[in-house]
Amino acid sequence: MIDLIVIPLLQIVFVLTGVLIVVMYLVLLERKIQAWVQVRFGPMRVGPHGILQPVADVLKLFVKEDITPVKADKWIYTAAPIIVLVPALIAFAVIPFGSSVSLFGKKISLAIADVNVGLLYIVAVASLGVYGIILGGWSSNSKYPLLASLRASAQLVSYEVAVTLTFVSVILSAGTLSMVGIVNAQYNSGVWFLFVQPVAFVIYMIGGLAETNRSPFDLPEAESELVGGFHTEYSGMRFALFFLAEYTNMIIVSSVATTLFFGGWLPPFPNLKALAFLYYVPSWIWFTLKTFLILYLFLWIRATLPRYRYDQLMRVGWKVLIPLALANIVVTGVVKVLLGR
């Protein structure tokens, strides 16, 4: 009973709260890092160095008027932000935040569910979010959101292919679809898969940027072209849900990258005896550290690069990334057969 219901429920509550708090502060972190890159201070007013800014932002979004355009399709308009956010949140179910901890004499795994098709689950769930974006843009019954949501759907679908193909090569290396299994496979092989699958990692990161609508692929919300993008008509909490989903997706992409390529909760060079002392650091700290490093990469890229154009983005996706990912799978397979493993 306790193992079946209470602990998973507690885990879910814990993870969801944690994710939402991280999202709030990720927004602040993004603003701060961008500001530092751009020789500014960033938020400074609310709290010392603006550390209470997220609280103020959330409060503001709560009390804002919630506008539904007269000509909008009301049900779909309301449902769209939820359709975007929910898949982003439930994807966390299979992410292993650490190996396991002992609490009150119980050994608790830090993954809510160690599903044996964990990676497949993430792919499946992550691809649902795009429906919300399409529906949100369409139901607003406005031109800019419509254009943006069409862009978004084309972009997300095509980059999903490339990202999923990189998963295949990781699965080939690990021999399992389970997220925990993939981390264990990295433990067994002694190196992070970053060094086994560097090409897959690069493709995954580019695809990840595109899938989360981050710069330089932030076309669906290119403010200089399409005003606010697909959420132009949204305000208040509904807008906040879109916003939340974007940052949650960023965390998902970083956590998956950590799990697949950076050895999840493992310290660097997990098999090296000389570095065994690194195991004294709790596993979830390693995980958080790596995830935030990748998140930092996201923010850094946003502060540096201009934006791609729609057709160029599609060209990069279909003519460069997907063939490269396919070639990577073939090479991985051939090497695996030759090594006889």
Partner: protein, 376 residues
Amino acid sequence: MPAEPTAPQPMFDTDELVINMGPQHPATHGVLRVVLKLDGEKVIDADVVIGYLHRGVEKLSEHRDYNQIVMLTDRLDYCASAAANLVYCEAVEKLLSLEVPRRARYLRTVLAELQRIASHLVWVGSHAMDIGAVTVFLYALRERELVLDLFEEFCGARMTYNAMRVGGLPQDIPPGWDKRVLAFCAVMDEKIAEYETLLTHNRIWLDRTRGVGVISGREAVAIGLSGPPLRASGVRRDVRKDEPYAAYSEFEFDVPLGANGDTYDRYLVRIEEFWQSTRIIRQAIEGLPEGPVLAKVPRMIKPPAGETYHANESPKGEIGFFIVSDGTSTRPYRCRVRPPSFCNLQALPRLVRGHLVADVVAVIGTIDIVLGEVDR
């Protein structure tokens, strides 16, 4: 009674999407309105609607005396007030056949080139921001701040300078100002290199600007382009060289030319102009002659009857003033501005046709318009 069967309607049809970009749009640099006709993302046609910032500067000029009009010229291209001040004052001086002291001409050149740097900084910033590189914008405005500080020191204003008078300058430079201008030039040279690191060889930047908004030299001339957009198409036309004014004939500088006439070439031309501007400023400050900065001008300026047209190379292009004096009044009979932004804006529909929506903002950025000057 059942209705008469009608001819079957096609279930789907295609239609052009007309979207309204501006006047409240983040990328239209103020109050420009562009009505775009789209086929999917492709621009079929663009219609530019202007006039949201019309203040009737030309008509107002007919009711001001000659020195008061300098204030109105500030409000034409508010990113480059000094350039408009200069051309207006020179036009009136031409009408009066007035000789301006050499020191004033040198200082005017320095001010005009500082202004060119400031204006190009706004351009590189907003252009890059439209294409998504927000950081460049903040870097550029950081350096623009330095130029504004110099102007503030010289004339007290940071935006609408009112920095020149018919016959010269209202006052001499404050002590040490020339040193600070040289120091600024040193800073600027470093910073231009910084923008170039961020943009010039950036793959995404190249993809976004190369081959976008191409216009040939012949077409550019026909449409009336001037300034950097014209030179990027390979036409050698720079008023500073062709009809030297202020003290430009005494300095050495190059006129950068482009070859392809695309957005990237316009970018390169303007970046090169940064270097040329600091070069001119250095020469002018080092050779700065002593003497008065204002010629002997009567309190009430009453030019003899006649008309004149005088053009300068403003940061945006060829800015000209056509002034008619009836010989009896202290006010111009007619004062007509040839605004470079307005003429360059004519090229917009031609430049964006066939491109994507994203290119529209890139092209609006590249022709570098200021609506205050377009609408006057």
